[in-house]
Structures are given as structure tokens and as C-alpha cells.
């Protein structure tokens, strides 16, 4: 019996918005994480409040899972569309779990009499019961979780949910196959967290010293600030909803100028409005962390889907020339550490720093080990002790970094200006000062370059194929490579968690050493491979690109590689 247990499974729950898909998805995910399993969640939803087809898929493993999967092993259909849209993605031994009142005739389906088990409104909890029983999860652990999550003030509601859950598991224990039970987790991390990318960005921000955030709501970035709002009182933070994104970035700059480490979070369209403010932060040398959660564009695009098409936009946003760093987390852990790092860098180099994520990672729950809060990077406003008199906010220095004071905190006057300015911050049209100030600001870029996080290389040098990736596709690319290696192919991966600035010395040997280099990106034009060519002259000719709004998966990448091989053979 035990040897037939599953080590990795993909569960896809589908239904209409309003049916409680996310609630059941969250509860199941947390039950799995608390039971010691590793998960990768993919959420696919339409841009509307009720109705429309939505899915919540959980890939669960007894060992570390790093990527989503397109094929479903268990497909839980709370509506007919789920069967219609996803049946073709069912794995060969997959199981469809169906509400029998949906009246679809197929004997291979597990038809659950939801109506008998529950009143219609708790069918999501009944579905949770069915899946828990199928997977062989500890029912009391899940039951406890339902109480925690749905208990609230309505004791009756909690009781009713529990009754439905127990009835559903009892029915499934008797009527369903036992071939979907999960094996015991290996490499269990004690007290692992369940967190998605945006939650980790919010936590990384507060651990990094953030005190002020301003925002205008925009999917898929909104949950970053909602997480901050949730913790604001406990942590003495101010999170203000601004009248527009232009106000948001300017508020953050004002707060930072006055001494509170600040951030904004938005998506492409909102970031477009902020770009003038990015330039302002650079000119006034004011630290600000800008989180951009990408969704497909142009314009409103696909508001709730994923893409990596704003790399060139974020790289070039803001008029004039100034240094910046762009961090592109590949995992939930990196969302945390790179956000803290962005705060450290913004404060140190006194300017805008960017965090570029996307809808897939924003909404993707994972099981992660607790973070080392004490030793994570911190915004460390170096309060200069010896201030030469009179104080010069923009004193010309060797590394370009000038002593920074906050207005009102000392008797020194702090003057900042969006115009070109003298060392003491006042408006000037002295062109020799202009030249010195341009050079001073750009010298900070040399320091930023020295601190670049090297790309992560895995595999052997002189491989047949080197797969290049950045941002949220990290796991999918690494899993695709691992599968190819297990088939005996010589495949290596090179992943960039920081895409700007680039330090070619860190990676040119890998590019030049591989027989064939393939860039993998969630955009239609291969923006990162173009950036590498611009910076190094190295031309990555082959690309696997995805721009249908869905995340890159190992299956998609392997299929892409097959097509490249076919086209070359042809």
C-alpha cells in the first residue's frame, strides 16, 4: 500500500468566482503546508467580482516543489466549465471530482452528492473534505484550520462548516479510490510558513525598515499594500491610499525626504504615471523602493494574468540619466530578501530601487522556511556625525554619496531640488556645476555595480544547452533542466535575480562555454536576451517565449525545446 503513495500531485480546483474557490484553495494549501508538504500555487482568475471561470491549482510534493504544472492529477469541478476547459489537461491516471448535480455522464468521474452532504452554499467546504480524504490528510488538523479561518464571530457557521467537512470526508473514505494518498513528507522544515510573493514583499519591506507606503489600487500589486495595511498598527507604519499613482510616488518621496523609508507598489499602467516621480527621486537623491507587479499589457491588457514584458520599461523609466538597480525575485524567499535588499540599497545609494515581480509569483503560495529577520538587509540611514558647516546636502564626494540629514532633526537646513542644483541644494544654471552633479550621481552607479547579485548557475560548464531565465520563471526552468538531465542530456541553467545593472564578468564564461544558449521569458520579444546583447554583444539567437497570460511551466519549456530541435533538424 505504502509504496503506491504519491510523492508529487497537482490538484486543480475550478469554479465560478463567488463559489469560494480561493477559500478552499487557501485552506487546502495551509493544511498541506502544516502537514509538512511543499507547494506551488497558481491562481488563474478573470477580472470580475462574481462569475467567470477561476482556478486555484496546488502542486504538492513530499520534497521541494519549485514549479507549477499544467496537467492536473485531481481536477475538482464546482461548475461545468471546469470540466469543459480542463478535462484535456487531466493526467493519464487523473481523477475528476464532480458535483453530481452538474449531471455530466462519465463513469470515470468521482461524482460527489454535494446536495446530500451539504446545503448548496457549503459545497466548497465539502470539496475540501473530499480532497483531504483523497490525499489522506489528517482530518483533525484540517478541521482545526477551518475553525481558525472561518470561525469568526458566527459560531454557528463554523459548526456547520465542520459538519459538512466531516460528512464529505466520511463519504469519500467509503466511495473513492485510495490511489491518491500522499506519502510522508521528506526534508520537513519545522514551522514552515505559507506565503505568496506579495506577502513576502510586504514582510521584506517591514523587515527592511519601511515606515511609509503610498498606493493607488492596481491588480496584481494591491495585495502588497493590503498586507502592509493589515500590520500597520502593530508596526507603526503609515500606508496611505493616494488620489492617483502620481500622488503615491510623490508622497513616498516626501516621507522619505523627511526620514521615513518609503515604498510604492503598482503594476505597469500605474507605474507609467509614476515615472516622472522616479526621475524626481533620482534628481533629489531620495531613497524610494518601487515594486512593480507585472501583468500583460499594453494599456489595460489582461489585468489578472501574468507577463514579464515591463523589463525594458522599468529599466528606462524616468527622463534623464541616473543609476538604479532592478531586482527580479524568482521565489517567495527572494521576494522577501530582495525587498529588504532594495531598502538597504535605496538608503545607501539615495535613489530609486526597483523590485520587478508578476501576477504569477504575486499570487503563488509556497511553503517557505522562516526568514532570518535579524540578519536580513536593512535600510540603514547613516546619520552623519561630522557635518561640515554649512551643511551641503549634495556635497560632491568620491563615491557620489553625500551626507544625508533629515529636515527638522538638526539645526542644519536640508534643501532638495528637482532643478539642477548646487551642493547646498539650491537651483542653479552654472553649467560647470551641472557637469559635476551629473558625474556625482552617476558615480553612485559604480557602487551599485560592485554589489550586483551574481546570476545563479546550475549544471556543468561546457553544457550542450544553457537555459537563461530571470524573475518568476526560475523554478519552471530549473525543473525542465532537471528532467532533461535525468534523461541524460547536458543542460545547465543561468538565472538572474537582478537584471540591472549587469556585470558581464560574472556570467560571460557560462554564455561562451555552452554549445547552445536559449533564453526563456514571459514576453513576446525576448527583452532580457536583447539587454544581454546590448551590454555584452553576445547574441542569444534561440528563445522560448510565452505571452498568453499564463506562467511558464516545465511542460511549456520542454515543448519549446522540442520545437527548436525539430526546426533545426528540418
Amino acid at each position: 500500500m505504502g509504496k503506491n503513495k504519491r510523492h508529487i500531485l497537482n490538484i486543480l480546483i475550478g469554479g465560478e468566482a463567488g463559489q469560494g474557490i480561493v477559500t478552499v484553495g487557501n485552506l487546502l494549501s495551509k493544511s498541506l503546508v502544516r502537514s509538512g508538504y511543499s507547494i506551488v500555487v497558481t491562481q488563474d482568475y478573470q477580472s470580475r467580482i462574481r462569475g467567470g471561470h477561476n482556478t486555484f491549482s496546488i502542486r504538492v510534493g513530499t520534497d521541494k516543489v519549485v514549479a507549477p504544472q499544467e496537467q492536473a492529477d485531481i481536477l475538482v469541478a464546482l461548475d461545468r466549465d471546469t470540466v469543459a476547459f480542463h478535462r484535456s489537461y487531466l493526467s493519464p491516471n487523473g481523477l475528476v471530482v464532480l458535483d453530481d448535480s452538474l449531471d455530466i455522464n462519465d463513469d470515470s468521474f468521482l461524482k460527489v452528492p454535494f446536495k446530500e452532504i451539504t446545503q448548496k452554499k457549503f459545497s466548497n467546504i465539502a470539496a475540501l473534505g473530499v480532497v483531504c480524504s483523497l490525499l489522506g490528510l489528517n482530518e483533525s488538523l484540517v478541521s482545526e484550520m477551518i475553525g481558525e479561518a472561518l470561525g469568526g464571530d458566527e459560531a454557528g457557521l463554523s459548526e456547520e462548516n465542520s459538519r459538512v467537512f466531516i460528512a464529505a470526508t466520511a463519504w469519500t473514505d467509503i466511495n473513492a479510490p485510495s490511489s491518491y494518498r500522499l506519502a510522508t513528507p521528506v526534508n520537513t522544515i519545522n514551522g514552515q510558513l505559507m506565503m505568496n510573493g506579495n506577502e513576502a514583499i510586504a514582510l521584506g519591506a517591514i523587515a527592511g525598515g519601511m515606515k511609509f507606503a503610498a498606493f493607488y489600487p492596481m491588480t496584481p500589486a494591491t495585495s502588497i499594500v493590503l498586507n502592509l495595511v493589515h500590520h500597520a498598527k502593530k508596526l507603526n507604519l503609515i500606508v496611505e491610499q493616494a488620489e492617483d499613482e502620481i500622488a503615491a510616488i510623490n508622497m513616498a518621496i516626501g516621507a522619505s525626504f523627511a526620514g521615513a523609508p518609503s515604498m510604492v507598489a503598482t503594476s505597469g499602467g500605474g507605474f507609467a504615471l509614476m515615472t516622472e516621480g522616479i526621475s524626481l527621486a533620482a534628481m533629489t537623491e531620495t531613497p524610494v523602493v518601487v515594486a512593480v507587479a507585472q501583468r500583460p499589457g499594453p494599456a489595460t491588457g489582461l489585468p489578472t494574468r501574468t507577463e514579464q514584458a515591463d523589463l525594458e520599461f522599468v529599466l528606462h523609466a524616468g527622463h534623464g540619466e541616473f543609476p538604479r538597480a532592478i531586482f527580479t525575485p524568482g521565489t517567495v524567499e527572494e521576494c522577501f530578501y530582495l525587498t529588504s535588499k532594495a531598502f538597504e540599497m535605496a538608503e545607501k545609494y539615495q535613489g530609486p530601487m526597483f523590485l520587478l515581480t508578476d501576477q504569477f509569483l504575486a499570487d503563488s503560495y509556497r511553503a517557505v522556511a522562516p526568514f532570518d529577520i535579524e540578519n536580513s538587509p536593512k535600510a540603514n540611514p547613516a546619520r552623519p556625525i561630522d557635518i561640515s558647516s554649512p551643511y551641503k546636502r549634495f556635497e560632491i564626494t568620491e563615491n557620489g554619496i553625500s551626507p544625508r540629514l533629515f529636515p527638522g532633526m538638526t539645526s542644519n537646513l536640508v534643501v532638495g531640488d528637482s532643478d539642477e542644483h548646487t551642493e547646498d541644494g539650491h537651483i542653479t544654471e552654472d553649467l560647470s556645476v551641472r557637469k559635476q552633479m551629473v558625474e556625482k550621481r552617476l558615480r553612485k552607479g559604480e557602487g551599485i555595480l560592485e554589489e550586483v547579485i551574481p546570476p545563479d548557475f546550475r549544471g556543468e560548464d561546457a553544457s550542450d544547452i544553457l537555459l537563461i531565465s530571470w524573475g518568476s520563471s526560475m523554478g519552471a526552468v530549473q525543473e525542465a533542466a532537471a528532467r532533461l538531465r535525468s534523461d541524460g542530456e547536458k543542460v545547465a541553467t543561468l538565472h538572474f535575480s537582478q537584471v540591472w545593472p549587469l556585470s558581464p564578468g560574472q556570467f560571460m564564461n557560462h554564455l561562451e562555454g555552452a554549445h547552445e544558449v536559449i533564453s526563456i521569458e514571459s514576453n513576446a520579444t525576448g527583452q532580457f536576451s536583447r539587454l544581454i546583447r546590448r551590454e555584452t554583444g553576445f547574441h542569444i539567437k534561440r528563445k522560448i517565449l510565452r505571452y498568453d497570460g499564463l506562467p511558464l511551466t516545465p511542460e511549456y519549456i520542454l515543448e519549446g525545446l522540442k520545437q527548436i530541435q525539430v526546426s533545426e533538424a528540418g
Partner: protein, 283 residues
């Protein structure tokens, strides 16, 4: 005692006869009379000739982008409520480019003093119509006369029940200085629309044009009477009333923010034990 000399005396980029000179004098006098020291004040300005004013006195300054001074001031005031934050910019900056921020700032009622140098024309870009230019005002950019009706900032602010709404005139320095001083001591957004001539580009609303019309409100005027204030806000003809047109005691944004009751953000360190607790909530 603060001396007016602490605020310095600087060469400016303004045309001789510009109304800005008088406003600068009134500002310095108001700061001195408020017994504020230069380092206790943060001026935030946008772009335009008015927005250069903070460069011509001693104080902390953030001279930001066109139209964006109110959001910057909001952020700074929230980070450090001990700062006396004064926004100083023109009619184009606050009512045109920054119109949305003007409305939002009134709703928020942030404790900031807003000084709008209103000369009914764009000076820095050499003479186009501004949001407050009168209908028919002829410029190179509007050769047939401005067709849009003028924005009435005072009426809008009163209609939105802003906490402190005043109109001043650069030709009445002591009166204006008194308004600014009241604005600084008001807890909440204090809006002072300041009429002023532009000697180079507004040949209609000249110093003498304003002088003939601007008249202080009588001492019997009750600025807490909203209905009356709405009427006063629309008086614009042979007589233009100047003074505090409307005020109320709405609590300011900062007073309502629980987090700020514990002190300024800038003075406090992040509580890492609490951050850990937050993290453990995700278990």
C-alpha cells in the same frame, strides 16, 4: 524671539515689480511673528516663478515637480508631524497640473499651509492662460481669448468645507502676513489664495486693478457661517473681499491617525520582535 534676519536676503530671478517680492516679505514676517526658526520649517514647492520663493529664504526646502507639491508635503508631514510644512506654488501648479491633489488635500485635511501665488497667468512659460484666467483673456496661446471659465479655488474649497480658506493680496503685505500666520497656526489644511500682479504677462489684472478692488472683510464677518461664506467666495467684481472667508474645526488627518499618536515615524525604529511575530502569523 526669532528675528526676520534669520530668514536671510537673497537675489531673485523675478522681474522688477513682481508681486512675489511682496509675498516673500509677508511670508518672512509671518514666520517671524509665528516665532518659528528656519530649521523647524519645511517649504515644499512645485515649478513656476512662485515655486522658486523657498530658494530665497532660509528654511528646509523640497522644490519638486510641477503640480506635485501637495503630495510631497503630505508624505513629509506624515513622516514628521513636528515639521511646519508650507506649500508655496502658483495657480498653474496647484489648480492646473495639481488639481486632483488640491481636491484630495482638502478631503484629507492634512496639517499643511498652502500658499498659492495667483496671478491668473503662466509666467515662467511666458504668458499662457492659467486655470484662473478670466474668460476672454487674450494670450499668444489663446489668441481668441480664453474660452474656459476660470477656476474659483476659494469657492471650491468652501464648497468642500475645507478647514481654513482665505484670500489675500500681495499689495496688502501686513494683512497677508496676518493671514499666513493664522494659516500656520490652523490645525489642518490652510488654503490661502494670494492675488498678485504679473508685470510681464498680465496686462489686465494689474497692481492697480487689484488695488481698486481688494477690500478686507469687515470685523463683523463670521467665517464659520458656511452659507454666507459660499456667497463671499463668489464675490468677484468691483469689489473682491480678502481675509479668512471660511473656517471650521475639522480634525486634521494626522490627529485622526492612531499611528501618529505614538510619535513621529522618523523618530522610531522598526520593532523587529513584532516583525517576527507578524512572520509567525503565516505558519
Amino acid at each position: 524671539m526669532t528675528s526676520i534676519n534669520e530668514f536671510g536676503d537673497y537675489e531673485t530671478a523675478w522681474c522688477p515689480g513682481c508681486g512675489n517680492f511682496s509675498i516673500l516679505k509677508a511670508v518672512k514676517k509671518a514666520l517671524t511673528d509665528s516665532e518659528l526658526r528656519p530649521h523647524e520649517i519645511l517649504f515644499v514647492s512645485g515649478i513656476g516663478q512662485a515655486a522658486k520663493t523657498p530658494h530665497y529664504l532660509n528654511a528646509n526646502v523640497f522644490n519638486g515637480l510641477h503640480g506635485r507639491s501637495l503630495p510631497v508635503a503630505t508624505g513629509a508631514k506624515l513622516a514628521n508631524p513636528d515639521l511646519n510644512v508650507i506649500v508655496e506654488s502658483g495657480d498653474g501648479c496647484n489648480y492646473g497640473e495639481g488639481g486632483n491633489h488640491f481636491l484630495a488635500a482638502i478631503r484629507r485635511n492634512i496639517n499643511v499651509t498652502l500658499l498659492v501665488h495667483n496671478n491668473q497667468v503662466y509666467g515662467l512659460t511666458k504668458g499662457q492662460a492659467s486655470p484662473t484666467s478670466s474668460e476672454g483673456f487674450v494670450t499668444k496661446a489663446q489668441p481668441d481669448g480664453t474660452m474656459s471659465s476660470p477656476f474659483n479655488p476659494v469657492a471650491v474649497a468652501v464648497a468642500m468645507r475645507a478647514g481654513f480658506v482665505a484670500r489675500g493680496f500681495s499689495g496688502m503685505i501686513d494683512h497677508l502676513s496676518g493671514l499666513i500666520q493664522q494659516g500656520i497656526s490652523h490645525r489642518g489644511l490652510a488654503i490661502i489664495d494670494i492675488l498678485m500682479p504679473c508685470v510681464s504677462f498680465n496686462k489686465v489684472n494689474t497692481l492697480s486693478w487689484y488695488k481698486e478692488r481688494c477690500e478686507p472683510l469687515p470685523s463683523s464677518y463670521d467665517a464659520t457661517d458656511w452659507t454666507k461664506a459660499m456667497g463671499t467666495a463668489y464675490e468677484w467684481g468691483d469689489k473682491i473681499p480678502v481675509g479668512v472667508i471660511y473656517k471650521n474645526n475639522r480634525p486634521s488627518f494626522g490627529e485622526r491617525l492612531p499611528v501618529l499618536q505614538q510619535g513621529a515615524l522618523v523618530d522610531r525604529d522598526v520593532n523587529m520582535t513584532m516583525v517576527k511575530q507578524v512572520m509567525n502569523g503565516y505558519k
